[in-house]
Symmetry: C5
Subunit: 322 residues, 5 copies
């Protein structure tokens, strides 16, 4: 669905082209573009026909049309004869799950096409850009920058949430309580992998784009986005590394706790083995066992049992076994 389709001149919105007229309307809009004007077409969750119409009006390569239609593209920046196709994957984080959506930007000297598959609307980016004539004057690349900036800011936001989750996990792992964090750690690792697949492939082509973008005044803005992307990558790598740490710490603690439990149980069983053995001796039926006839034999044996158990108990305690 074509959301907005406007012509810009001199850093300001000049007029709105009516997208309702279909491909012909777009075609007219393109033909009517003055030398210092450019067209920005915003499309949301388009169907195949819509994209094919737009592609025809803008003379896009069939592969570009295919790329825009096909979901789950790998992020990339492809240079065609006189335009650029930028496929991006935005990320968002909800309920411990990283979700991604695709945004394609096709940018030439005369037009820019932004296509959004799911995810938050780009209307705000358009409004902000229209309010900043200085940047809008850079032409279509200013739109590309605005979209990139928004997407990469989303990377930052998700990275911060992942870092917060990791910190929660670390607190839980290193607490004295017995916790079961492993499943959550594994799930976070999976999500961080999803995130990496959305973010990492963009890094290199974006860095290359910084040097190639025209006009040259737009360069620092793209370098700024590239720097933010790099920071997001650093953050996710730190998250990964911390998760690995947290996992091995958790497993180590779990193993120590389980061993402690076993040791306590075994120490307990060993304690009971002492009176059992002594009692066994005086339960024997020998005819001649003088102790049995001693007047204080029984209490004496009870005392001996108590001393034996008590001594063992103290030693176990001192060794940290109980």
């Amino acid at each position: 669905m074509i959301i907005d389709c406007a012509i810009y001149r001199d850093g300001a919105r000049a007029r709105t082209a009516d997208p309702g007229e279909g491909p012909q309307g777009l075609g007219f809009a393109v033909e009517s573009l003055g030398d210092d004007e450019f067209l920005w077409i915003g499309v949301d969750d388009p169907g195949p026909e819509e994209i094919e119409d737009v592609g025809r009006a803008l003379s896009l390569h069939p592969l570009v049309v295919e790329d825009i239609l096909e979901p789950h593209q790998r992020p990339k920046i492809d240079r065609y004869h006189d335009y650029l196709l930028v496929s991006l994957r935005g990320v968002s984080y909800a309920d411990d799950e990283v979700e991604t959506h695709e945004v394609d930007v096709c940018v030439s000297a005369r037009f820019v096409l932004t296509v959004r598959h799911g995810g938050p609307t780009l209307a705000q980016a358009r409004a902000e850009l229209e309010a900043d004539p200085e940047r809008l004057r850079h032409g279509p690349v200013s739109v590309l920058h605005a979209v990139l900036d928004r997407i990469v800011d989303g990377y930052d936001d998700v990275a911060v949430e992942l870092e917060t989750d990791v910190e929660e996990i670390e607190v839980s792992v290193f607490s004295e309580e017995r916790t079961r964090d492993s499943n959550r750690i594994y799930r976070l690792k999976r999500e961080s992998l999803e995130y990496r697949r959305a973010v990492l492939p963009l890094r290199e082509p974006l860095a290359r784009l910084v040097d190639a973008v025209t006009p040259r005044e737009a360069g620092p803005y793209f370098r700024d986005v590239s720097g933010h992307l790099q920071r997001a990558v650093d953050a996710i790598e730190a998250v990964d590394s911390l998760l690995d740490n947290a996992l091995s710490a958790h497993l180590a603690q779990l193993s120590i706790q389980q061993n402690d439990d076993m040791r306590k149980l075994t120490a307990g069983a060993t304690l009971f083995a002492i009176p059992t053995a002594i009692a066994g001796i005086y339960g024997m039926n020998f005819h001649d066992m003088p102790e049995l006839r001693w007047p204080f034999g029984y209490p004496l044996v009870l005392v001996i049992m108590a001393i034996g158990c008590g001594y063992a108990y103290l030693r176990f305690k001192r060794s940290g076994w109980l």
Copy 2:
């Protein structure tokens, strides 16, 4: 066996050369090629003599003939004086096993030779290409692209199946039930290794080919294939990483379960040690044990035993030991 051998002009099949006439027939076909024509020879599971005949007719380098004959080549793209030898390994997935087959494409400005060792037929690729004169007009490289596209699509398909398998394993590993997933995980790791060996070596030469291919209009198509290949590589790397995760999660859970079992058994044995020790005491044969003569001595001791066991049982339960 020569499957099809046709001459193309202007994006359409012009005439079929009769491969039945052997090397002479091929030689005549090559000689009869007009300036704007090219020959496409399709060969399936060839014997040495066939390939040598074809090599002689097309003046192929002895090493090319050897490479085509020798099975289990490493995927590669070799540039010869005026043609290119592309060795590919297609993959398929059946019964949890990745299987590979080899496809060699030898492409010059005037001819293209496709040789298939096992795997699915390329007839469909030829049919589709003959139905698309626009692409066929790019000449022999369009055939190379069609074959590459088919093979790389196969990579995608297998990657998706591997990812599905990994998800099944993850569900099984993280379920409450006690499962034995390790062998399946190890087997999947092996298969992913097989897959990598087929896919990874192609990545770099294909990326280089994108910039070098003629005519230049064919470039974006090869870049598209290269992008798909990269996506397949990303996918298999994610599969690998998830398998590692799943394996360590599985082993950790297994170890926790086994420890739980041992703890329960030991706790049970410790429970029985309590009445045994008490009973041992009152089984002693001392002449003077006043409790033995108490009218309620016996039931009292039974009650004490029950309380001791019950108390221990409750503590074990509360500690999660039983």
Copy 3:
């Protein structure tokens, strides 16, 4: 807050510009600069307005102003038309925690702006530089070098402290005593990660700066800083590697100790099982058990028990089980 704002000529402080007059004052100072003079503005923990004023006076790019204001930048060196923005993260180490603070340096041929967010003051660097006309004569880059040098020296100091901590841990891990070092190791790993994030991103742009710096006589000084940075990176990588070693050594020793404990307990329980079993036999109530009537039956059985236990005890001792 503008800390100091002075004009330098010929390697010496020529005059102090009064920063109290606000942006106008700075503007006058810039305009009044002679051909062979440069301005050094030092700012500490600035507010947005201050930075915007300074940016307007020095005609800085809006992105530079934003970068200086935004905390937690990634270390970077960005080249603008006629000046350089260098964002640094200084590190300090207190209470087993690595803390970072940001320093931004904006350097052109005519001015240098140093902005400090937290961390120790740069006044000393200014004093030292003013005392060394030889270096100050290199112009604004000498200020950049002085700041870099100070920051990178801080990297070295922290690396040394981390190495000391690692050595303490190693002594503790490899001592005969039973220690609980894992939490400290994990915390140190986290700190070393923090350190890496502050230090590593600077390495590459700094190495590139070495070749690009003007005047060329300043090159060796920057190479020297770059070498120190590299040494700090080497040190932190060694720390990381040693921590991994120490951790696995600690876990291995812990597991050995726990196993030793369990073995001792089980060996103890097994020792008591011997007299219990023998006593059980002579506690049976068979009418005809000749041993029971033997005059030395009882002491004999006691001796047999003692021998059995003693023999087992010696064997366990010799196997290292007790």
Copy 4:
């Protein structure tokens, strides 16, 4: 010992130089070389004097002579003013051990010197090359190619044997039987390391040689060898990865088996604890224990014991503990 020393022209052996005459003989041979001739000297396990004589006759650099004499060189390709020194390490596999031997080839436009330290003879390579005038016509580099081809084929052979060993190990590890595979796995890892040290350093210089070799017609032959080498490297990396897998699978299974054993033993001991505790109770000597006088007291207790044990046994069985 000089094995063979012949002069070749036009792809055929022209005449044999008599190596018996020592350095003078070789000098004469070199001087007598026609413009389109080259000399091939084959040396086996030479002594220092022999190599020094040859070096003097061919005006080799002292470092070349040293490299040829010194055993256990790292594989390398060194370019001197007008010749190339290629040091290779051939590998062979016997009794689960990778053994290496050194072959040095010194090749200029006019001569080629092949020196073998141990390992299989190169006589066959010479015979094959003399039977193929087409390749021999490429001059001395054809000899270099023949030797390289032979050595790299050996890499392939050993890689195949290592892969077979790994497959045997995998079958053993994943079998139901209890096996002790770890030592063999560790030994194979060591051998694969030895193999890597012989093979890996050659990869990069050989790839560079492919582009630099003259005459250019020889290029594809070297590229072919380089491809084979790459395949051998791929194979050894797969071997390494599979060994790691197999090892961790083996250790995991071992740990599971040992835990199973312990659980069975503990479950057995727990089973016996039940009748012991019950019997203990009826072994007490209280004067008033009514059950003792019941006519069916004894069989009833036996039945209760049997039921208790049987119930526990069934539960243990159902939990997989016995």
Copy 5:
């Protein structure tokens, strides 16, 4: 302390400059140098003043003087206007410890300064070089080569000793005896890390130096050193990899042994539980237990106990549990 200070011409020592005259003496020596002469100053464990004097006489950059004075430099090769500063770390191995010492070489077309901080003397290198006019004729770089060669030979020696240690450890780990090798392995890993820090940073700048050295005839000598260095790096990487292997093998064996011990103990305790349970039954005081009155009741029960224990013992033996 200036050890030796001589002027060389035409590959031979021309005359000795008297270093006793201090900086003036050195200054005269430098001034008196003929066009085809060079000065070699050898300094051992110098104090700050000495180095400052030398630096003034040779017009060295202040950073060079600082680098020479500051201990524990990272190995590096820095190019100054018309000379080169090479900082090296020699290694030696004593009592299972890798020790390093620093050697700095400052080399221009007219002089070479060698400064040694600890470590073995370089006098022998000077003597050898003076005995080889061919190499000495290359000028100051021949001195640099001689020092490098000596240092890198030391790398080789230490690598060989480390490899020997690893082999000893492997024999110990894979022996049938119960050994405690982990501490030694960890210590060796630490030493290998120390070694890497001394050796690795030199690799890249040395490789670059090979192409840049003048005169060009000296190139092969530096390439030779670079190759040796590479071999030392290979060796230490193999050592590292073998240590990792040995460690995990050792830990695996330790865990197996400990489990074996526990199993034996538990099996022993389980054996004793059998007669205890049976004896318990016949120790019950039921009035009517017919077996008690059987004439052969007692021996029969003893036989049953023996059979039970014997059967269990045999089964445990056959399962490898005892």
